[in-house]
């Protein structure tokens, strides 16, 4: 049951991973002082973004068994649309936020209806290539509309950094934390309290059985893609004021988000959150300690190691192989 909570308390691997992680964090702060704290705080900000993107991957994967290579492009589009609405058209921040998320969610839904719907039952390679095609398409369209330079989005409130124990933190970071918590909470409520959400969990666990009791797999897939696109867009929007988006920023965001999802356990929402935050923090510590050029390689190293050693991630259960 991919979307269901596993028995947290019994997962020894998770606890040991968390313990090591905590140790690394404590060591970093005690060895590097306020600089270390700075790394960890910025790591948490980026990590929240990775979590949101990872949740998008997981929602789509658990409902349709598809890895959406265009997930990062949803974030890029979210940021770019926010720029158009808020910076260019001077629409108020919250209205721009909602509009951008809605537009990207609609794009996700449209893609599901036109391509993914037609590809039910196709081989994995086929679906991968189609989502890659879609990501290239979105990127190219963005380049056409917004050009190649990164665009500037104003922070939601104020630009003056706040200092905590000599570590500076921009106010936008609090928006990132707050909105991520809100999104995670909303998603949990959706999957545990609403009929549609429960149906999606059922379909994720066993789509044949779910369709026998009246859960439409078509609807499930559509909702999953819409949700994932919206989540991705939200991530791209709230990080926009900190790292200005450009037409090409989607690829990295998507790959990092995917690494986070795999680290936590692909298809597992809690795993996405844990994986995202861990990856964000560790990556920033690495960037502080090693030459910066290698920072980008860290997430991929984690991705490959997890895939090889424990493909189900920290929180996942091994997948049954159907013949």
């Amino acid at each position: 049951m991919a979307l269901d909570s596993n028995k947290w308390a019994e997962n020894k691997l998770l606890w040991s991973a968390l313990a090591i992680f905590a140790l690394v964090v404590v060591l970093t702060v005690s060895l590097n002082g306020s600089k270390g704290l700075q790394w960890i705080l910025s790591g948490l900000v980026v990590g929240s973004i990775y979590s949101l993107i990872a949740m998008g991957f997981s929602v789509i994967y658990s409902s349709t068994r598809v890895i959406n290579f265009a997930q990062g492009e949803f974030s890029m589009l979210g940021g770019m649309l926010m720029y158009t609405f808020a910076t260019k058209a001077h629409v108020s921040i919250w209205l721009s936020f909602v509009l951008s998320v809605l537009v990207v969610a609609l794009i996700g839904a449209a893609f599901e209806q036109t391509a993914i719907y037609k590809l039910r039952g196709s081989s994995v390679i086929t679906v991968i290539i189609v989502t890659i095609g879609f990501s290239i398409f979105l990127k190219a369209i963005a380049k056409w509309i917004w050009g190649t330079d990164p665009v500037k989005i104003a922070p939601f409130t104020g630009e003056k950094a706040i200092t905590i124990f000599k570590a500076a933190i921009v106010p936008q970071s609090f928006w990132v934390f707050g909105l991520t918590v809100l999104a995670v909470a909303a998603l949990f409520l959706f999957f545990s309290r609403t009929l549609v959400g429960k149906g999606m969990r059922a379909a994720a666990a066993n789509s044949d059985a779910a369709s026998l009791v009246g859960v439409s797999t078509n609807t499930t897939s559509l909702i999953a893609w819409t949700l994932a696109a919206g989540l991705g867009a939200a991530a791209g929007i709230i990080i926009g004021p900190i790292t200005p988006p450009s037409f090409s920023s989607g690829l990295m965001l998507g790959l990092k988000g995917f690494s986070a999802a795999v680290l936590g356990g692909l298809g597992n929402i809690q795993g996405a959150v844990v994986g995202g935050l861990m990856l964000g923090v560790l990556e920033n510590i690495i960037a502080g300690v090693l030459p910066t050029g290698y920072k980008e390689a860290f997430a991929f190293l984690v991705l490959i190691l997890v895939l090889l050693i424990r493909p189900q991630g920290l929180l996942g259960k091994p997948e049954d192989v159907k013949v």
Binding site: A115, I129, I136, W144, I304, L308
Partner: protein, 360 residues
């Protein structure tokens, strides 16, 4: 219908290969005869690059199309090949370039083996992501390991390919070197696909468990085809380095891996001609579109400025081909040729029937 199209390949493939070889090897003869005002593109130059990419794409077609194992990181092996020969021949002045190319294949193959053994245990989505991650790490290493690769500035002044004193120092000479190799790879692919290994690959593609049960050593077969495709990509990369005389990390990024996959898909996965058709189609698409206004006056410049919508087009091609034409252009061509021959036969029969009636 299936008789002609079955992926096993048949005797006809050799005949087609003979004709294709004759056409391709005579291209420089007639391409230079057509005046530039008519053609508006340097066919020989485009064909050299096409051949270089073809090395990588033909190998990838065996891996993706036949064995059903996806790789989204083959630009890494292309790059490893290019850097191997680039570093060897620029640092050691006596180092023969043909040996550089051979070693490039070996290095790419060995790295392919070291990477392939663990990674090929993964399947489908996971394999795609792992190879993508490896490709990303490789392109970071190309630009970061500066003492070896000279970072983003790249390596300049790579010598032309020469074998025992014969220098391939013009486009035409290089053309023959590259395409003879490509045609040999093509012959090798046709033979492989018809062999026991080829049948094992296809069994693997349809069901790994079933192939295992039938006695195919799936792990070993997968690794071997992965190493082969890595070495061929390395060969392509090495030829690229000696042709361009310059390598930099830009030439081996993620989008090149995607270009390779696109060529395989558009040409036709699991069709022995797919790789060749795909690489020809996508290499000639940009220059043909750019040359359009010279042929047909009145085409707006927004259409001809290919870099504007190159990526939009590639994205759409991938989606449209996978949904509506998953077997690619090569299949379409084969089917067209077959329908034409059947049509001709049909017309012939009708004519004969009419003659018979008239005679009566």
């Amino acid at each position: 219908m299936e008789r002609y199209l079955k992926p096993a390949g048949n005797k006809r493939d050799y005949r087609v290969l003979l004709i294709v070889s004759l056409v391709i090897l005579t291209v420089p003869l007639w391409a230079r005869l057509i005046p530039g005002e008519v053609l508006h593109m340097d066919i020989v130059n485009i064909m050299v690059l096409t051949g270089i990419y073809a090395c990588a794409v033909l190998g990838l077609n065996l891996l993706v199309g036949y064995a059903g194992q996806i790789s989204l990181g083959h630009a890494a092996f292309f790059g490893i090949g290019a850097y191997t020969t680039a570093i060897l021949t620029t640092r050691l002045h006596w180092f023969p370039s043909w040996l550089g190319i051979l070693l490039a294949m070996v290095v790419a193959g060995v790295i392919g083996y070291l990477v392939g053994v663990p990674v090929l245990r993964l399947k489908g989505n996971y394999l795609a992501m792992a190879t993508l991650g490896l490709g990303a790490i490789a392109s970071i290493l190309f630009s970061q390991v500066k003492w070896l690769t000279n970072g983003n500035e790249g390596i300049m002044g790579i010598r032309y390919l020469s074998i025992f004193g014969f220098k391939f120092d013009s486009d035409i000479k290089f053309y023959f070197a590259v395409w003879v190799l490509v045609l040999l790879i093509m012959l090798f692919s046709i033979n492989t696909v018809r062999s026991r290994v080829g049948r094992a690959l296809r069994a693997l593609h349809s069901s790994e468990v079933a192939a295992d049960a039938m006695g195919v050593n799936t792990g070993s077969v997968k690794t071997r085809v992965f190493v082969l495709s890595a070495a061929l990509a390395g060969l392509g990369g090495a030829l690229f380095a000696h042709y361009e005389q310059f390598v930099s990390p830009e030439s081996f990024v993620f989008s090149i891996s995607i270009l390779f996959i696109t060529m395989v898909v558009v040409g036709g996965m699991g069709n022995i001609w797919g790789g060749l058709v795909g690489v020809l189609f996508l290499s000639f698409l940009p220059p043909v579109i750019q040359a359009l206004p010279q042929w047909i006056p009145g085409i707006p410049s927004s259409v001809t400025n290919f870099s504007n919508y190159e990526l939009v087009l590639y994205g759409l091609l991938l989606i449209v081909f996978m949904i509506f034409m998953p077997r690619g252009i090569a299949y379409g061509l084969a089917r067209g040729a077959q329908m034409a021959s059947r049509g001709a036969k049909h017309v012939g029969e009708r004519l004969q029937a009419r003659k018979y009636e008239e005679h009566k």
